[in-house]
């Protein structure tokens, strides 16, 4: 249960876990987690809408706070978790496009991220931030630009080594003329810039136009390839990396059988026995964003109070700025001395904010075992390592013995955040 809340969202407290325990079956629990009827209206603050670099930082902070708070407080975390997945998959970065376009792109991922892959990919291809980020706004018949054409196949839908270089050329021609209006912020199709010649894509010769290529990939001759690519990537994000070819084949069939619907596919993922296996529960490291959101949820504080934006770069994951078009990597990519220093620094800051707000109030003089169990319950750690429990209890006992009871609460906040258990997804 705690595992599902961590993977489908950003973790849950003991109270939230206990509430789900009352459901009749695992399927009923999964359905509850996937029920997005309570998804709050998506009201991106106007503060993100700036056109000048001079105001970029303030706008970025507003966009970060908006999303981090949404992730931490929403009653439907799966919507935000899936948007975070698509942000790292259908990447656009504020290094290039108008920042507000990237901030607003996430709204599309929220609205369509759990729906039909075909709708999502069509929206992605004409998203103004994407048109700029991968240069399709400069792709015209007379001067093709292949940047988007390549990545839409290699990264977004089909995968490495599943197409020919000639397909890149054809794809670029098919998407020529799909650009932005003079404001650089609105999609527009310019027929005069479109290549109306015959192109041979995936061995099929006709006058391909951009949207039809997406349909061909998601619903046509490349559906199997597309389903395999996305199924493996989604499984890696929610369960564990590098699923076996046999599992990918089964998952791809499920994705196709569900009409390429993401939510239906996630139901399949969460119901698979592999998803609930013991090894799966320890197979993912929380990304820095997930770790910071889980912290906000655990201590019940906002982004405006905890300022996660000050640490994102050091931790290696900056919202709205994926490192490159292939997005963020997993697990080992988050582990280094540097990232641990960054986490230590953030935990060292959060401990004072949280203890000032009364987190763990009244616990400082209680028995170490009681204090530490309260920390596990609050931070949603359901199966702590024996060594974690032992070391945290030793810490509490040591501070009490040194007559530093005041150090128990902040220390426990920081150390629970820094425990290997809380850093796992």
């Amino acid at each position: 249960m705690a595992h599902l809340l961590r993977r489908a969202g950003f973790g849950g407290t003991k109270a939230e876990i206990d509430a789900l325990m009352t459901r009749a079956s695992w399927a009923a629990v999964v359905d509850r987690v996937l029920d997005t009827s309570a998804n709050p209206p998506d009201t991106i603050p106007a503060a993100v809408d700036v056109d000048t670099d001079a105001k970029y930082y303030e706008a970025w902070v507003a966009a970060v706070h908006y999303w981090m708070d949404r992730m931490a407080t929403t009653p439907t975390p799966i919507v935000e978790k899936m948007a975070l997945f698509w942000h790292g998959h259908l990447t656009s970065s504020t290094e290039g496009p108008l920042p507000r376009l990237v901030f607003r792109q996430i709204k599309t991922w929220r609205a369509k991220g759990l729906g039909d892959v075909h709708d999502l990919m069509q929206a992605m291809a004409v998203d103004p931030a994407m048109l700029d980020y991968l240069d399709n706004d400069e792709n015209v018949a007379a001067r093709p630009n292949e940047n988007f054409a390549r990545e839409v196949m290699e990264l977004f839908t089909m995968g490495n080594r599943t197409f020919a270089e000639s397909d890149v050329v054809a794809m670029a021609r098919a998407w020529s003329g799909h650009g932005t209006a003079d404001d650089g912020a609105t999609y527009v199709f310019r027929p005069g810039d479109h290549d109306n010649g015959t192109k041979t894509l995936f061995g099929i010769s006709r006058n391909w136009d951009g949207p039809a290529t997406i349909t061909e990939i998601v619903r046509g001759s490349k559906q199997q390839v597309c389903a395999s690519h996305l199924a493996a990537k989604i499984w890696s994000f929610f369960a564990y990396p590098n699923p076996s070819p046999a599992l990918v084949a089964e998952l791809a069939s499920s994705l196709i059988a569900g009409g390429m619907d993401v939510k239906a596919f996630l139901r399949v993922v969460f119901l698979r026995p592999e998803f609930r296996a013991a090894a799966t529960r320890t197979a993912l490291v929380r990304s820095p964003i997930e770790w910071m959101v889980a912290t906000m949820r655990s201590v019940g504080m906002t982004a405006g109070e905890l300022h996660p934006e000050w640490w994102m770069s050091r931790l290696g994951q900056t919202l709205y700025q994926p490192p490159n078009v292939s997005g963020w990597r997993q697990n080992g990519a988050w582990i280094s001395s540097s990232a641990q220093w960054g986490k230590g620094s953030y935990a060292g800051w959060v401990r004072w904010q949280a203890s000032d707000r009364g987190v763990f109030a009244g616990l400082e003089d209680q028995a170490p075992a009681v204090v530490v169990q309260a920390a596990f319950d609050r931070f949603g750690i359901d199966a702590p390592a024996a060594s974690t429990r032992q070391q945290l209890e030793a810490f509490v006992a040591r501070e009490q013995a040194a007559r530093r009871s005041w150090a128990v609460r902040p220390g426990l906040v920081a150390l629970t955040m820094l425990s290997p258990d809380f850093q796992l997804a």
């Binding site: 490495n160 050091r314 990232a339």
Partner: protein, 421 residues
């Protein structure tokens, strides 16, 4: 070389108030001077010192995004170049010889070339390229293997054979994660951000130490919660230990510019004599699909300034033991793309810089009137041949085993590490 001993290093670095340029302590500087004097007393003044592979230090600089070789080392008076590049052609390069000049943003690098300390390798690329994506190309460059495995990097495999690489500082990557080319099986690489503020360094109050001790204790034994929990726990413990040792490197404050701060910190780490053999730094993005003239100029200015800062910081005596090499996942297409930029190409040039390199031109210029079927530059030097040359001429090791096949040695080095003319 002695194994890394954090306590000893910390002691050497914490002599109060005696820091000199480059963060070298007075005591260490004096030791170095005495050692040099002793050497001079034993050897006749003009007799060259023969270097040793195991003294070699390599700084790898990734020009991420695909650097345009044609506009970095520019062909002079070359008609096909001007035709294909049009307004993107560099018309005022800084001449290196009659045929080639450097981009005008690289004046200090030109001086270094004139001093014989820069090897320019032309026409380098992936001889067996399957596609031109950033991902595939970067992975292939970093893996540096004759096979198709992308699970380790050429320097990571080399590090696996370096004494002390499993538990000490033998490789440091600037930034927050360890790139593929430094990843091996057993060796441990530290990612060091130029921002400093190392959790575990500040021990001014007893309660702080109590927190650090608990983090260290998380990593003292297996967690029983799988390999990733164990890795997280040991990384936490290692970070506390390292923080204590590395804090002096961040004084005085590092410059603001990204690459200059990376290379300055690397030079200080070299000066401290920690036994680190490989460093990784990055600059980019060089993915100049549009607005190339302006963007490329800014990037190369950063590069020029950062290399100058590196050598200004590096303490005397290390010059003959340090080489810096650049690489980029691919070059740009000869034909400009019409958005005032260039699309992904194939071969490019790379630079190997150092007192002991064999300065001048290596490899072969990829002619613009002799392109492949897709209109891309021909690859004359396989990137693994560069690695073989660095391994044989500089770092040592069995290049054939490390790369999975034998590749020609380009002869990029005039002397072994530490050797003098």
């Amino acid at each position: 070389m002695d194994d890394f001993d954090p306590r000893r290093i910390r002691d050497a670095l914490s002599i109060s108030g005696d820091r000199i340029a480059g963060n070298m302590t007075r005591r260490r500087f004096l030791q170095g001077s005495l050692a040099a004097a002793a050497t001079a007393a034993v050897l006749p003044a003009c007799k060259p010192v023969v270097g040793r592979h195991d003294q070699g230090i390599l700084v790898v600089l990734h020009l991420g995004g695909g650097n345009d070789g044609y506009n970095t080392v520019v062909p002079i008076g070359n008609g096909p170049y001007r035709d294909r590049r049009g307004s993107l052609a560099i018309t005022n390069p800084l001449p290196l010889d009659a045929s080639f000049g450097l981009h005008p943003a690289l004046p200090k690098l030109r001086d270094r070339f004139k001093a014989g300390k820069v090897a320019v390798v032309q026409g380098v690329g992936q001889a067996t390229v399957s596609d031109l994506s950033h991902f595939s190309s970067t992975a292939s460059w970093m893996a540096g293997t004759a096979g198709t495995s992308r699970s380790s990097g050429w320097l990571g495999r080399w590090l696996d054979g370096v004494p002390g690489s499993a538990d000490g500082l033998r490789a440091v990557a600037m930034g927050s994660s360890v790139p593929l080319h430094l990843q091996g099986q057993r060796s441990v690489v530290t990612a060091l951000d130029t921002g400093g503020d190392l959790f575990g360094a500040d021990r001014t109050e007893p309660w702080m130490t109590s927190v650090y001790d608990t983090v260290s204790a998380f990593g003292a034994a297996p967690t029983g919660k799988g390999v990733w929990a164990d890795k997280l726990a040991t990384a936490g413990a290692a970070s506390v230990r390292l923080a204590d040792d590395l804090t002096p490197m961040f004084t005085p404050e590092l410059p603001n510019d990204s690459l200059t701060s990376q290379l300055t910190l690397i030079a200080r780490l070299i000066n401290a004599g920690l036994g680190i053999r490989v460093f990784d730094a990055t600059l980019g993005s060089f993915d100049t699909h549009d607005g190339q003239l302006w963007e490329h100029d800014l990037l190369l200015k950063d590069l020029d300034a950062a290399i100058a800062a590196f050598y200004a910081t590096l303490a005397p005596g290390w010059g003959s033991k340090v080489s810096l090499m650049t690489f980029s996942e691919f070059g740009r297409r000869p034909q400009a793309n019409g958005s005032a930029g260039t699309d992904h190409g194939t071969s490019s040039c790379l630079l190997v810089i150092g007192d002991n390199v064999k300065g001048g031109f290596h490899g072969q210029f990829p002619r613009l009137d002799d392109l492949d079927a897709r209109g891309n530059a021909k690859v004359h030097v396989d990137h693994r041949s560069v690695y073989a040359s660095v391994l044989r001429g500089w770092l040592g090791g069995d290049d054939r085993a490390l790369l999975g096949a034998a590749y020609p040695d380009l002869g990029l080095f005039a002397r072994l590490p530490g050797g003098t003319a």
